[in-house]
Symmetry: C2
Subunit: 718 residues, 2 copies
Amino acid sequence: MKSVCFVFLLLSILTVSHPAFATLGFEGEDGYRLWLKYGPITNTSANKVYKSYLQHIKLRSQSKTAAIVQQELRLAATGLLNIQPNFGSINSKLVIAPKAQLIANELWLLPYLNDIGDEGFVIKDKEGVIFISANSDIGLLYGTFHFIRLLQNMQPIENLSIVQKPKVKLRMLNHWDDLNRHAERGYAGQSIFDWHKLPDYKEQRYYDYARANASIGINGVVPINVNSDSLILTPKYLKKVKALADIFRPYGIKIYLSLKFSSPQQLGGLATSDPLNKEVQQWWQQKTNQIYSLIPDFGGYLVKANSEGQPGPGDYGRTHAQGANMLAKTLQGFGGVVLWRAFVYNQNSNTERSLQAYNEFVPLDGKFAQNVSIQVKNGPIDFQPREPFSPLFGATPETSLAMEFQITQEYLGFSTHLAYLGTMYKETLMADTHVLGKGSTVSKVIDGSLHNNSLTAMAGVANIGSDRNWTGHIFGQANWYVFGRLAWDHELTAEDIAKEWIAMTLTTKGSASAKILSMMMHSREYVVDYMTPLGLHHLMDTGHHFGPGPWVNNLGRDDWNPTYYHRADAKGIGLNRTSSGTNGVSQYARYWQKRFSDPSTTPQELLLWFHHLDWDYLMPNGITLWQALAHHYDKGVAGVAQMQATWSSLQGEIEPNQFKQVAMSLSIQLKEAKWWRDACMLYFQSISKRPFPESFEPPKQNLEYFRSLQHPYAPGQG
Amino acid sequence: MKSVCFVFLLLSILTVSHPAFATLGFEGEDGYRLWLKYGPITNTSANKVYKSYLQHIKLRSQSKTAAIVQQELRLAATGLLNIQPNFGSINSKLVIAPKAQLIANELWLLPYLNDIGDEGFVIKDKEGVIFISANSDIGLLYGTFHFIRLLQNMQPIENLSIVQKPKVKLRMLNHWDDLNRHAERGYAGQSIFDWHKLPDYKEQRYYDYARANASIGINGVVPINVNSDSLILTPKYLKKVKALADIFRPYGIKIYLSLKFSSPQQLGGLATSDPLNKEVQQWWQQKTNQIYSLIPDFGGYLVKANSEGQPGPGDYGRTHAQGANMLAKTLQGFGGVVLWRAFVYNQNSNTERSLQAYNEFVPLDGKFAQNVSIQVKNGPIDFQPREPFSPLFGATPETSLAMEFQITQEYLGFSTHLAYLGTMYKETLMADTHVLGKGSTVSKVIDGSLHNNSLTAMAGVANIGSDRNWTGHIFGQANWYVFGRLAWDHELTAEDIAKEWIAMTLTTKGSASAKILSMMMHSREYVVDYMTPLGLHHLMDTGHHFGPGPWVNNLGRDDWNPTYYHRADAKGIGLNRTSSGTNGVSQYARYWQKRFSDPSTTPQELLLWFHHLDWDYLMPNGITLWQALAHHYDKGVAGVAQMQATWSSLQGEIEPNQFKQVAMSLSIQLKEAKWWRDACMLYFQSISKRPFPESFEPPKQNLEYFRSLQHPYAPGQG
């Protein structure tokens, strides 16, 4: 292996001597190793302390998971500290053992293990020895990753006393990947799942994917699109699924499947898929049995039904509850669950779209089986750069609600825009629904504490693809990371998680880290500003959702058109969701009803979500709405320019290949931010008939130019 | 960069201690570095000699290409020898300089440079100093790669005296990649060309791709599918093409484009695309001018016209010559060429398909412009595991003919079957057409020497995709490699090239290398045997071409059906192409007409290509045709089993990750080889009504089972 070293050493030399060709031929850091690079710790005092703990390790377990624990400690010790840990010696300062393997003088640990369940862990110092313990080997793995993260972040490890368990039970990635490897809303290449070559060809990537997920506590994976294909349930494909499940199991990850509700007809040759039909019920029971015979720890089903053309119980006049419960019953004996998506809107309804999920599901509260959770998108429309929290949160006390976040940036610039979503996730999680008075946060709905639900889940629609760096944009890795960390503990701050990620991925230098942190913490707001400021939403172009299309008004359904959402007219702009409009406010708790009903008490960032206001409406700071709109669009663009300047200042402090990748993306982002600003402002001007503020740089192209742009091969189309 | 070293060092340790998790987390050798790994030379005497030459290097040139030469020498010296070459010193034992930079006491090199053109190179020892010289910096780059290859293969480098120039002028890769990154007949992920992110996002992979191509002399690339999309010719996409061309230029690689013949209508809004129409001609001239204004060294056009639904001059009653010449005229002033594909078959013709290309193009001989070459597939049908050479070779003395080989294994097992194609390429190149008497080999047609053609070209349909190891199967890399090497010099043997490739990619150990060589040299014949033995062809299933479908007889055209080609009936099997049949033999020189007309003088491996023979026809070795068929199918399967055994014996001698990848593929190949054997033999038995020979293992499934298999998501569909 010597040669590899020389090549990499060489690279660092070339970097200095030939910057233009720095990464030519070999790639340097290509992003594959994510936040698990384990780069050397140069701080000598920290290094010395850490070494004293990692030189001799006692690991008391023999499972496959324990082998992963051991391997991970080796990787960390070697990478971070340049030592080979000894796993055999007597005098260990690091002891890792599950409850069942604790020896007599370690029984003081037992009390701490009582309340941490299967996945929690304890890291405790006693007389200079660090103990990592848990009720299961998966807990040990989580504890080990936590411990290593402390080292990666150069945290003190003396006198540790950590007891953790996840706040949410199911922490899942949803891949919207098709069986042909197309990834719907995927912007990082194609699906990492090569169904054709499975089950015999097991890509190394499957192991590395599982490892990365385990390192942040993700314990469930849906590898295929919610717009599912019944083929996945055939024996041929279930064998492929089993191969993945076998790979993922030692990492504590269960596999779940999206299903097509009409499978009994498509695969079983039945005349119906009516959930009340006996044969249909039997067909599903047999299918579930078959799956469990292959995958004894199969997680369950994720279902998109009666939405955007997908079949569902509604096709037979049955409710979502009847559909979900029929499936849930087949899983009950196995401990499996149904995740039933709330993202439905009725093909024939005239009700404004943001109201439909609530209308559909609130009346069904209490009707769902215990092993059903309703998976709700964070906002009431569809993963826009900003939405208010969905009114469903807190509105179904007797029904488990799961959070569905989108990690892939369908509406936030694909994989070329830097947008750290930690702030967006926290905005929703910390939102106070007020359904049971102050403090009824969305996070308490999701972790089950508000209404005492025991089935809890958080799902993230993955941004992972076959690109070497997994997510296309290096900063996209941070969104995968922050999703996992928040699913584990929603009380962590977006800022702290960003800091961790920066240290593990890009740099541990304080000044560089602070600059990057500032970029990340502002980045999502920049996107909101240059795409959809002040509560505007759904302004993107048709189908591919790439770039602006606020003028689009000719689609098959009214509520697919941007014009449906912004309602710009000669008088003003915005969608009136007060009682004089669609009355969307009525679905929120009284506290919010009141505030959302009055523009002056509506949070400014949601102003046009709830109100149609005159172009000349005076904003609190004394400028008109029209001027404010222009200022926000400008601010968004300026923010990207600022990020670009900040990043440029980091040249030399970031590994050259990563530096270059991000620099290229930022230049695309700046171009596209201007495109959004210019296209939207020109279009709105064609309606408002008002001049641009003086500070606003006149667009170089006209509206017709922007309307003429076509992007037939934009990636990730649905 | 220290950490990277530790990680890799660690890996080698883990490999020993935990084989089951050897590559977990990190990948070891993942195949990305192809044949340019530059692993350390452990032979101490060779090492010492090489060091003496590479420690001090004089490089006299300042171009971008020279910078690549320098970088390559650094990479090689560091990887192979663990030294940092000094490029500044006086006492160099390695001098690299183009003709224009030769100094007074080096002028003895001049005579050698006279006859080697722009791309040739000279490597000459004089008094212990090695000189690499050329007429251009690209020549220096080729010479440098050649020199490094000698080191990689541990060849002696004292008293070197090498003068080389390529035998073929245009050495090209054709990518059948669509603008949405789908790769038609691609089995290694998606297209490496990310058109959406171009021109701003320049993947490192583009540079590495160019480097790999330059190392084997490839100097032209068509990045998009011959089933083209007119969008590629719009200004927006041409800017993306320009970005690639700028990256490729210093590596000596020109870019060419596939075009859609109807572009004047689709893009120009003209009423016709008739090549004799003035406006059409003007439109193309302007388009060509526009391309050259962006890409001054643009290579030219590749055209699939009037074939499989593509538009072409035939739509207006014009000939291929009229179509090609119209385009050629627009390129003439710029030095560009037209590569016009001969793979055409008339939608309405009843002529047997293998005859059509000849019928179409021979009458046009002499009618094509000087800058047109007709690109001919190696065989008369379509890249089957074995075909006779195309009768077009040698049949158009006044027309330049380019060779089109397929590197991607559309009909040879996709990316899971090990099939070294060097032997197949050589079989065609060395085939003697006899058109001007003995010695009129196909290679002499292609290199222009037979009929004194100056425009010479060889194209390979690429097997390259986004998979980390580029080609899906590690041994697929060998097919990319051998294509390039043979395009440079078709007199090299498949065996010598395989040896080079093994040493550079897998191992330099003699015994392991010999075993791998044996696998490679037999591998393609195994595929022929388990898929299409004895001259059978076109037995694959519909559309995806994955697996056997000899029973298929219901497609839109007769000549899309396997039954059209094998003609199995109660009496016998094979397609009679003698004068009593389709008279395909008439297109060959008299020598072959005679031999091909008589089964006893027809090469046995082409028997059923030319003859319909009784099931009980007696083969020279005394068994019946039916028995011989069974034996061949068995031999193919046994061959794969043998490869698997050989590979298993190499465990520990091959880097673990590569070992595992190939082992998994071989197990798939064995499974699929049996599938081919069993499905074909069961089907043929249903017609021949003859028992299997006793030695033939009875299939475990029945014919209905094999006919029922569906593969809707097999990759690479057209």
